[in-house]
């Protein structure tokens, strides 16, 4: 990846990330996050991890952000008002947390190994074959554990949604079973 492209993508990512934090309309924030994630996907592709880049686009942009959008709709989030001030304690902890994050980043940047010491990756690096091999040998347990994690996600969502629908009052109009049968509605 040429340097100018990297600089452009990095700047775009930072700008879009600022957009996520600073905008007040949740759907605008979400679109900014979509830009960040697509930007990262392009960076992955530019750095040779083509498959990972596409997986990033499919999973994060195509699925997780859509879920976020549904959650925004579900909760009917509207543009939030700019609040004058939070509580003093909250602001204090926020400042401490931000400072810690900045310090951590500084340490990380200083301690990062120089690029001269890096070895070249094999030409198959990032190809679908290499990923399949890694998934089914070194990361086999993680791969299978992922399926369990996803299963837990399904069960959790179904259980939560069931409680929500069960507590909802049903239509008070009595409908005879014959009508139910006719329209194929389920109890």
């Amino acid at each position: 990846m040429p340097l100018w492209l990297f600089v452009f993508l990095a700047a775009l990512a930072v700008l879009a990330a600022l957009g996520v934090v600073l905008q007040r309309n949740p759907v605008h924030c979400l679109m900014a996050l979509v830009v960040v994630l697509l930007d990262l996907a392009v960076m992955f592709i530019g750095l040779g991890a083509v498959t990972v880049g596409f997986l990033q686009a499919i999973v994060y942009v195509g699925a997780i952000m859509v879920l976020f959008l549904f959650v925004i709709w579900l909760l009917n989030l509207q543009t939030e008002e700019r609040r004058v001030a939070g509580s003093i304690g909250l602001r204090f902890f926020g400042a401490v947390g931000a400072a810690a994050l900045v310090a951590e980043l500084c340490v990380f940047v200083v301690k990062a190994p120089s690029t001269a010491g890096l070895s070249h990756v094999p030409p198959t690096f990032g190809s679908i074959g290499a990923i399949a091999e890694a998934l089914f040998t070194d990361y086999l347990i993680a791969f299978e554990a992922t399926s369990l994690l996803l299963l837990v996600a399904v069960i959790g969502a179904v259980a939560l949604a069931r409680r929500a629908t069960a507590s909802r009052t049903r239509s008070p109009v009595p409908v005879s079973p014959a009508v139910h049968e006719q329209i194929g509605a389920r109890q």
Partner: protein, 117 residues
């Protein structure tokens, strides 16, 4: 490089064409605003209340089921591409993976998460 140039050209050209189609009306068409005309359409009535209401939790369930199965499909693609090389061992692993998620589908099905009323 030779792979990504046509993709870049496609993206740029498609963006240009669509952007022109979306903005051309603003440039060439008349624009006469009036408060009544600007009302959102609600079958002739003035709209009552906000258009954005809460909606059924079912849609959220569909979204999370989609997320789970989308990740499944995505994780299976590397396996499918290398299925011959991974052979029996890979097949067994993938079948376990699919089986766990089928349990999730069956559970959602049994609990009525896929029914609409």
């Amino acid at each position: 490089m030779l792979t990504w140039v046509p993709i870049g050209v496609t993206i740029g050209f498609a963006a240009l064409v669509v952007a022109i189609m979306v903005t051309i009306n603003r440039l060439v068409a008349p624009r006469h605003r009036s408060p009544v005309k600007d009302l959102p359409f609600e079958c002739g009535n003035p709209p009552s209340g906000s258009a954005w209401g809460r909606f059924s939790v079912h849609f959220y369930l569909v979204a999370i089921l989609f997320l789970v199965f989308d990740v499944e499909v995505i994780l299976l693609i590397p396996w499918a591409a290398e299925i011959r090389r991974l052979a029996g061992f890979g097949l067994g692993e993938a079948l376990i993976f699919i089986a766990v998620l089928v349990v999730g589908l069956v559970y959602a099905w049994q609990r009525g998460a896929l029914d609409w009323d």
